[in-house]
Symmetry: C2
Subunit: 257 residues, 2 copies
């Protein structure tokens, strides 16, 4: 490795992200598969992280979850990333007025990560999206909403080697379909995901811009397909854009990630 002292740090970061994708916990075997590391290595790193409070091991289920130290450090870090205070009211309004679950995601490099959720009142819901879930840009409505308003050369950089960027999602998201989605998003102002990740689970999203005018975050709604018919899409899109604009205005003083 190029930089000494970086291998373990990189592995630690990878394991924390993998555990963070599933708030319900992840098995040792699952982490071995997903990380590509060997079992003794993963086991040793996990138990070391747990000793420091960064992870926890649930002996009942055998699963590994994010630990109290991560929560504590995250609380401290939150003071530098104030968007939760700004996003929560918008999420509540979106959930209240639409009945769907509303989400706030942010961009991290070439992917989005869901940070906040506000459950809607409608009794049938999609659980494709929840805190910690990461998607490549262009996958899911939040990532499509963000990618559509990136500078054209940044979009081409991702589309140019779409399978490398989209990974396993490339199968359900052919490049031509994604280009079409991006174009329709630019025209409408909001993105629509017609069940590309999971059939029957639809979503709509709108980008939130930072003070440099870059799409750094996104608001989105998810639910079952009958709740996203064309007649209702305009209504949902309008609300999403309203809240996204409201957030963009308030985030002028905030620091993008």
């Amino acid at each position: 490795m190029a930089v000494q002292g970086a291998q373990v740090v990189g592995r630690v970061a990878q394991l924390l992200r993998l555990v963070g994708r599933k708030p319900g916990g992840t098995s040792l075997a699952g982490l071995v598969r997903e990380s590509g590391l060997t079992r003794p290595t993963v086991h040793r790193l996990l138990t070391s992280l747990a000793a420091e409070g960064l992870l926890e091991h649930d002996p009942g289920t055998g699963k590994w979850v994010l630990g109290p130290e991560i929560f504590l450090l995250g609380s401290v870090a939150a003071a530098r990333f104030p968007m939760e205070d700004i996003a929560r009211p918008s999420l509540r309004r979106l959930a209240a007025e639409t009945g769907e679950s509303a989400f706030f995601s942010l961009r991290r490099g070439n992917e989005t990560i869901c940070v906040l959720r506000e459950e809607g009142a409608f009794p049938v819901r999609s659980f494709v999206l929840h805190e910690g879930v990461r998607f490549p840009l262009g996958v899911a409505s939040a990532g499509t909403a963000i990618m559509a308003f990136l500078p054209p050369e940044e979009q081409e950089a991702l589309l140019g080697d779409w399978p490398a960027h989209a990974g396993d999602f490339a199968v359900g998201h052919p490049e031509n379909v994604v280009r079409d989605n991006l174009e329709r998003t630019r025209l409408a102002g909001y993105a629509v995901n017609p069940g590309l990740i999971l059939e029957g689970s639809w979503g709509m999203g709108a980008a939130v811009f930072d003070q440099q005018g870059r799409p750094a975050w996104a608001l989105s709604l998810t639910g079952i397909e009958p709740r996203f018919r064309p007649d209702r899409q305009e209504f949902l899109g309008k609300l999403l854009l309203e809240e996204a604009h409201r957030m963009s205005a308030r985030l002028q003083g905030a620091r993008p990630n």
Copy 2:
């Protein structure tokens, strides 16, 4: 080291905690001093953590701060530690009714860490406490409130080797003074810190109990000495105990750390 693969993990955790103590950032030299590690080691670990987004380096000030990935992972972990939703309303009421700044801390092993803050309206404030600050149990009003209601043998374990536990704070917190504080806290139900950390900066705290009846968290108020005179202490203590009881009741379903 006993467990292979643990040394770097322990160092990473230590550095993250040290950086987390100062939201405004910490210099490389400061981290070298406080960690006891050599400069090449600290520098290499810091740049590796920054490459993963766990830390950030502000080139303008040269300081290291917690990065966006910590914030993201912390948001995910927050779903498993729901006390912020429960604590925030209490903090707002305490700050509104007293004018002082209100804090929510939790116990981690033998220390407390401040997680939430609600600033009061009174124009003169103490800044001894803020997010990320850690104190040994028995130091600061939050830690005194918690320690006072621990089982007697756990208290003796800490008092028995007080300098080892309290570290640098042992000078300003002699063991006999601490024992006295603990006794008065048990009688009153709330703790009073008469400027032991910093002269003129007073504090009061009350423990919040988990469903096993153990003191796992604390609410506290801080401010300048004239705001904590005996005639006003009873009023502040009553409010703290009310909010602490209210939180204890609501935290029955929550998971202690």
